[in-house]
């Protein structure tokens, strides 16, 4: 009897606490669901607005409502007759070229810094760290004049911009170096014992293993030119034919144009966002891996 009593006394509060915890858990989960739904709405609403407003026909400026009164494709047709086509093509060419070239450069750089131990290595890494502390815009003043002398600005801004993006991309090696660091060195050594040269090790052993980071690098390199504003603005310098989408569409929201181009901006935004977003969602896994890995390894 006595023993049972004790057990009962001990058991009841524990059971009660358990019940209480369960209730608390349900409440907190409900709150979390509400928060998550609210967040999803807040994060998605602007994009839904952009899509809705891109179909608006009756007024072309900013208005106080979201759902169009008259639906139509006028804005998308307007894009075809404006310079937008040129900007889009420019950006697409730049993005493709940068995706390929930058990936090659970043991989060269990060693989070397991960695998080789040479005399200048530490100095080089420290030097690049310091170099990265200078604002990148600063160099644009001179680069613009030099590229202008070479005929790579304004109308010919596309090759000029590719050059600018790619040339300094070696400094962004951190994420992929972190990845290479996680591939065991013993793999290299085993292959070297079997008589492979360093180049063969890279091509035949490391690269196949590095597929996630290659995809991550290609993806980020491809996405960056779509959003770059400041370099593109410098290099194209007021010449519409050399602009990318960001610089071109920025001018649509200037005070003198916004009342006639606002809905076209929305339509342009949709056209720009769709291919990038689809690509991104397909390769999302690799992006997430790269971002989380990169932050851990600093």
């Amino acid at each position: 009897m006595k023993k049972e009593n004790i057990v009962m006394e001990q058991g009841q509060p524990r059971l009660k606490r358990h019940m209480g915890q369960k209730a608390a858990n349900t409440i907190s989960n409900t709150i979390i669901y509400i928060l998550l739904i609210a967040m999803s709405v807040i994060w998605l609403l602007p994009f839904i607005f952009i899509v809705l407003q891109s179909f608006r026909v009756e007024l072309r400026g900013p208005v106080g409502y979201v759902v169009p009164q008259t639906w139509g494709l006028d804005n998308y047709r307007g894009l075809l007759t404006s310079d937008f086509k040129r900007w889009y093509l420019n950006t697409f060419i730049i993005a493709l070229a940068v995706a390929v070239l930058q990936t090659v450069i970043v991989l060269c750089m990060s693989y070397t810094l991960s695998r080789f131990r040479f005399k200048m290595r530490d100095g080089l890494m420290r030097f690049m760290l310091v170099l990265g502390m200078f604002p990148g815009i600063l160099g644009m003043i001179i680069l613009y004049r030099v590229l202008k002398d070479l005929g790579l600005t304004q109308v010919n801004a596309v090759p000029g911009l590719i050059l600018v993006y790619v040339a300094s991309s070696g400094m962004g090696y951190y994420v992929s170096k972190g990845f290479f660091d996680t591939i065991p060195k013993s793999l290299d050594e085993a292959a070297r014992v079997d008589g492979a040269t360093r180049a063969q090790v890279l091509m035949k052993i490391i690269l196949p293993l590095a597929k996630p980071i290659v995809i991550y690098t290609v993806l980020t390199a491809f996405m960056a030119p779509w959003g770059d504003f400041v370099f593109a603005k410098y290099i194209s310098f007021g010449t519409s034919a050399g602009m990318n989408v960001a610089v071109g569409m920025y001018s649509w929201l200037n005070l003198d144009q916004i009342s006639s181009r606002y809905t076209m901006f929305c339509a342009g935004g949709v056209v720009v966002a769709i291919p990038v977003t689809i690509l991104f969602l397909c390769l999302q896994k690799y992006y997430v891996e790269g971002v989380t890995g990169g932050a851990v390894k600093g």
């Binding site: 998550l36 999803s40 815009i137 996405m223 400041v230 851990v296």
Partner: protein
């Protein structure tokens, strides 16, 4: 690591260890403190650690220069020894680069050296070559464009005689200096090659042939092949522009003194004086600099930490056990990373404008009357807060990803055992999650702080620096209440007078601020891991 005598003296005095400023607790004493006691102790030790961080940075720099001095001394010693002990082939190489290599049968290597020397000498000696530019570099040109009217066949013709071009002089001057440095380095390499070759021959081994050299470029020295392209790009497109722009800070290069039509020249430290001297508050530049710098720091602080903590919070909500559709929530947020930022920033920026969607819908709803629009971008403090809030909207998805990855790596048994010990959720957060996150993401926080200081896109596309600060705006460019140093720099270069020299000074100041913050914080961080440990 062996420290030099000075730091040992200082260390033993506990001068910089914070012992002067605060009582140091042992672990046990620390645990007995109240929560506030612990917090204030931590805060205190952080600030008392700052001198230590500065000290470490200074001594690091000291060691660097000491090493540099020793290195230079060693170089000269070796040069001298090589000459004294070497044979005639080696000695001839001091004048004719690559001679020793060729004489010893390494034809290809020798030819490369020789070719480089010939190119260098020819370039320096050309009438408009290296020496020409170097000579002009002291003055940046003495005669500008002149116009002469001549009478040719009875007609007056205006003839333009081109003069010096300061821009070219500075550019080619910098290039020449780079070239000279490269030459000295190659020459040094050439001398050392001889010494090594002599050693190999003396020990009875054979020298490498040209074929061997080529093969080693895909093998032991594969790194040289791999680095050639990236480093060339960095030197030409990053290092040289930076050197050039740093030099511009000491000139009067601007829109009118563009170098071609009007020469520009060296002005010493005048521009730094303009930016930094207070002059009783009459100096627009120094006032603007002070205000913009403080806003830049405030912005960077809030932009970094609001995103960090809210991002972590969101990640924890999604990660919580029992929450369903985890993948959906994550995808919704990640989706917004994919959409190019300029679209979302410009759109949201216009949404909050005076006649934007938010104000117009509030009017339509009858909540405010026309003329009473909420001044999101018109009032300085509204604009600043709105910018920070929109930045949260932009930044949380990214931070959520970062935090998710790290949170999943925290060993679950830590939580299990703490629950058995009766810890509640908040205690688990402050005792396990937060320390772990801070430890792992310390370097990341630092880079995102400095990244936010230079966050051009968010500010420029969102506010363009608005509202304008009329008091501080000059002819060189308008200054806004939300301008960061980096957008100010951009505005100065694109303003009516294009004062490139001021932009350059501002750029250098940005560098100084970022470098100081990085050095101090980096030396305080606990999570500087040994790189080799990771592999």
């Amino acid at each position: 690591m062996k420290e030099d005598g000075w730091s040992q003296v200082i260390d033993s005095n506990h001068l910089f260890k914070g012992a002067m400023f605060m009582k140091q607790y042992s672990d046990l004493e620390f645990l007995r403190l109240s929560r506030w006691g612990k917090f204030s102790y931590r805060l205190n030790s952080f600030f008392c650690g700052i001198p230590q961080g500065i000290k470490n940075a200074l001594f690091g720099a000291g060691r660097f220069f000491k090493k540099l001095g020793r290195g230079i001394g060693g170089e000269f010693g070796e040069l001298f020894r090589t000459f004294r002990e070497g044979d005639w082939k080696t000695r001839a190489s001091y004048l004719v680069m690559g001679f020793g290599s060729m004489a010893r049968g390494q034809i290809m290597r020798g030819l490369m050296f020789l070719l480089f020397e010939i190119v260098f000498i020819v370039y320096m000696a050309l009438p408009t070559g290296g020496l020409f530019w170097l000579k002009k570099l002291c003055t940046l040109g003495d005669h500008g464009v002149t116009k002469v009217t001549e009478v040719v066949y009875g007609q007056t013709v205006e003839k333009v005689i081109p003069g010096d071009n300061s821009f070219r002089i500075l550019l080619y001057g910098v290039l020449t200096i780079f070239f000279i440095v490269a030459f000295i380095y190659t020459w040094r390499l050439n001398v050392r090659q001889n010494r090594i070759a002599e050693g190999i021959l003396k020990s009875g081994k054979k020298l490498k042939s040209g074929k061997d050299d080529l093969r080693s470029l895909v093998d032991e020295q594969f790194y040289k092949t791999l680095l050639a392209l990236p480093l060339t790009g960095i030197v030409v497109f990053t290092v040289m522009p930076i050197v050039f722009m740093v030099l511009v800070a000491f000139t009067n290069y601007d829109g009118t003194h563009d170098g071609a039509n009007n020469l520009f020249t060296w002005v010493g430290l005048d521009n730094f004086n303009t930016l930094l001297s207070w002059q009783g508050g009459n100096n627009v530049y120094s006032a603007a600099f002070g205000e913009i710098l403080s806003w830049t720091l405030i912005w960077a602080f809030f932009a970094t930490f609001t995103n960090y903590f809210l991002g972590m919070f969101v990640a924890m909500m999604i990660n919580k056990k029992g929450i369903k559709l985890k993948k959906l929530w994550r995808t919704v947020l990640v989706l917004t990373i994919a959409i190019p930022q300029f679209i979302s920033l410009l759109y949201v920026g216009k949404m909050f404008a005076k006649n934007g969607l938010v104000n117009l819908s509030l009017i339509n709803l009858g909540w405010i009357r026309p003329g009473q629009e909420l001044p999101f971008w018109e009032e300085p403090s509204w604009a600043r807060i709105t910018a920070i809030v929109v930045n949260i909207w932009i930044g949380i998805p990214y931070l959520m990803l970062v935090a998710t990855g790290i949170l999943m790596n925290i060993p679950q048994d830590l939580y299990e055992s703490s629950r058995i010990d009766g810890a509640n959720a908040w205690q688990q957060y402050t005792k396990i999650t937060l320390p772990y996150m801070l430890f792992i993401t310390g370097p990341y926080l630092l880079t995102s702080f400095t990244g936010n200081m230079n966050n051009f896109n968010v500010i420029y596309l969102l506010t363009g620096g608005a509202p304008t600060n009329a008091r501080l705006s000059t002819a060189a460019g308008s200054v806004g209440h939300t301008d960061l140093l980096i957008t100010w720099l951009f505005k100065i270069t694109t303003g009516a007078e294009s004062k490139y020299y001021m932009a350059s000074v501002v750029g250098i100041m940005v560098f100084v601020v970022v470098a100081v913050i990085s050095l101090v914080v980096y030396n305080l961080l606990p999570s500087i891991k040994n790189e080799e440990d990771f592999q």
